[in-house]
Symmetry: D2
Amino acid sequence: MAGKKAIAVVAGVGPGTGSSIARKFGQHYPVIVLARNPANYNEVVETINSSGGHAIGLSTDVSDATAVSNAFTKITTELFPGSPIAAAIFNSGGGFVRKPFLELTTEEFEKGWEGQVKAAFLFSQAVLPLLLQGVEEKSEFPPSLIFTGTFPPPPLNPQLGATGSVRGSANFSVFASAKFGLRALSQSLAREFGPKGVHVAHVIVDGVIDIPRTKGYVFEHEDAKLSPDAIADSYWFLHTQPRTTFAYELDLRPYVEKW
Amino acid sequence: MAGKKAIAVVAGVGPGTGSSIARKFGQHYPVIVLARNPANYNEVVETINSSGGHAIGLSTDVSDATAVSNAFTKITTELFPGSPIAAAIFNSGGGFVRKPFLELTTEEFEKGWEGQVKAAFLFSQAVLPLLLQGVEEKSEFPPSLIFTGTFPPPPLNPQLGATGSVRGSANFSVFASAKFGLRALSQSLAREFGPKGVHVAHVIVDGVIDIPRTKGYVFEHEDAKLSPDAIADSYWFLHTQPRTTFAYELDLRPYVEKW
Amino acid sequence: MAGKKAIAVVAGVGPGTGSSIARKFGQHYPVIVLARNPANYNEVVETINSSGGHAIGLSTDVSDATAVSNAFTKITTELFPGSPIAAAIFNSGGGFVRKPFLELTTEEFEKGWEGQVKAAFLFSQAVLPLLLQGVEEKSEFPPSLIFTGTFPPPPLNPQLGATGSVRGSANFSVFASAKFGLRALSQSLAREFGPKGVHVAHVIVDGVIDIPRTKGYVFEHEDAKLSPDAIADSYWFLHTQPRTTFAYELDLRPYVEKW
Amino acid sequence: MAGKKAIAVVAGVGPGTGSSIARKFGQHYPVIVLARNPANYNEVVETINSSGGHAIGLSTDVSDATAVSNAFTKITTELFPGSPIAAAIFNSGGGFVRKPFLELTTEEFEKGWEGQVKAAFLFSQAVLPLLLQGVEEKSEFPPSLIFTGTFPPPPLNPQLGATGSVRGSANFSVFASAKFGLRALSQSLAREFGPKGVHVAHVIVDGVIDIPRTKGYVFEHEDAKLSPDAIADSYWFLHTQPRTTFAYELDLRPYVEKW
């Protein structure tokens, strides 16, 4: 390995999966976390920095081209000039509504796409050149671009169990069309950048994640919610796979989840 | 059956599949054809009208909310006030580019989504109330909303054979993410409106269609291109299925196509 | 078209889908029906013959190599020497048990495979040479080999709605592994014999079929059971598609079916 | 954890993936390896035993009910009486032929099913009670039953790249129908035994594995073959996932593999 120390970038960090992923990758790399609202990343940034790591939060709306451009200009010129990216995680949620189709506004429908597919497009265009740089500089692990599929949006009844990335359920047209689109993008990128040495992967998270917001969801069985730390372990596992043996897709769910 | 005569609406009509579908449904229903450029529908409108049918073309950009609204206001107040819709076909293509991912502009990426997913959203919101009216008025066949998946875009080498609706190939991120999104939307609508009596279906067209533009594509075997009339027959078959026995998805390809 | 009149062969005929298919194809072709128990086909044979068609029943266990060989020797030497096959339908059900996995006997598991996958193998080997003969003799429609996927087995609670051909549900290991295997076989044959002009298709029947045996299944909605005649119409539609525009897979379900 | 030390069992061990898996799990558990021919496991047994582990080979045809029964009687009464199973890996290959469909014998077709689906059935029935025992005794990691999907059979041209577990290619009817059947079985077991605490998973190995037998396969790119040790690391990763966060399916392929 030559050149500057590689970094990790996590887009979409709140008090759940994103924070767990940032902490996990923060044990190995300096980590940039992106979220619109600094309140979403302040705690994890502090945790990482106070435990010997190096984390920086950037307030960024990843569905906004200018905002993404500004964030990466800052990263590449001010914060970590010359550094390749070791791992880029697209974990953005948000913006979804679940409604009978005829009650949706065009803006609500559009927002679902912007928050997922357009944001993933902008993020991927920003990180891929720096991931390819990592390939050239013979990074320790194959540079990785990992997308989070199906993320149960907050207002949902957890019992609904809609697997948005591979199933379009009734009343879920916003969610499903955005998540199918995101999966398509990730597949296309895996086929284009895999042979160039970048490990592109898509993780389907199917179930309720055990985060502060879902405290109130009570299930019949114990351990019925996904552990954010175990999800983060899966992302790290994907990141450390050698290029002889890449996984493209991983589906994660609690043992009692219906699927 | 009560009320006014039901009509058919076909969005995305050029000198290929759309025209064949319009002619097929025009044998049974008055048919409205929508395309941005009247040059794309003038011929088929004339053909239908001169052979005893009734066709009307409306110049409409289906990815534009105002344009769609104007077209349907015209249909419901001027052209066919009180008529239910018997069949609505979303067959819109266009707007795709195929490029290495890092060469795409945000606008190019966005346009793919707008031309497919957003347009299908706008079209579906406009036609579904009139399809549901058909259910209420006990139409001859279950009112149908049919989407065309994977439509090989013009600039493509036909040899590439990318099945965009279910496979995201390298360099096809615009196409694949739009077509996956369209399929997700159609699935969600099938699950929401099927139980209400509307037959929502998605047709995967996999291969080169035999239209004027593909004259130059020569294959080793004869009959190696899809017949637009045979595609139209498949749409008509779907439309005439009774509600006891709906097909949601149909994949069409020439006998020699690799898949 | 040259040579002897083409025939149709339907394997798996009881008082439901198989009979409807035989009647439908019997309007156009002499039809051979195969079932182990003559009681299953006697009525349909009589109906076809008394309405101007020509049907012959052969008592045959299609999972038994010798029985299949005997039936086809009889067809090709005695009944219709020199005739090509226009359409061969594999519609065999039966033999399934649904049980907790650890209560299954090896024999029960094996029987599921024999009744579906092995039987389909034997049937396909018997009919394909005669379907290819139809291609050579330029049959009216492309010779067709159609398989029935997911067939809800009799002892099941219809509410379970397991889609065996594409989903392996709990306690359905016999059913799912046989139906996945059948679908794999049909796909492999579609890719091998499609380019030779034989139309191989797989139909997923998802829901309760409206037959004498399911009289007692009462649903909240009317028309909630699949119509065997509408299923037969779908098979006939597949059979009449030109080779430019083959469908490989069709999923059929009632409008109110959950999927 | 209470009771006797848990063991691992690997069915299908040759000088490739099976041996790597045995070595990996042998670092943590006593490991039983099953293969018909002792020549296939002698080396790995010796390697494990000489490096401080504990391995035992049992010559067993896993497609034979009596042989499987004998092996497990020996395990539970002689070798490790009272021990639960921590991990059971079904990695059996073999028995496949690739041929034009009409040249296959019934025996060849049957053998493909026996070697995969029936063998997996017998193995699963033998190990599941001992995996459930592990759940009861609160094993360190959730007891795991992992199946290897698509295993490119020896006589194949590696360029063919057929993904048997999810795609039925021309001339691959034996392989595809067996691998689809195996995947169906694993899905059904995942849905039945997951909620009981057993982690059932299915790994799709897509590409040529770097083993002695494939030495002669030369690719344009380096690292174009799957590493058996990296495959084994993936199995171990699956085994150590907590029950809050199980993956059911993982697809592994070299970075340059076409898919």
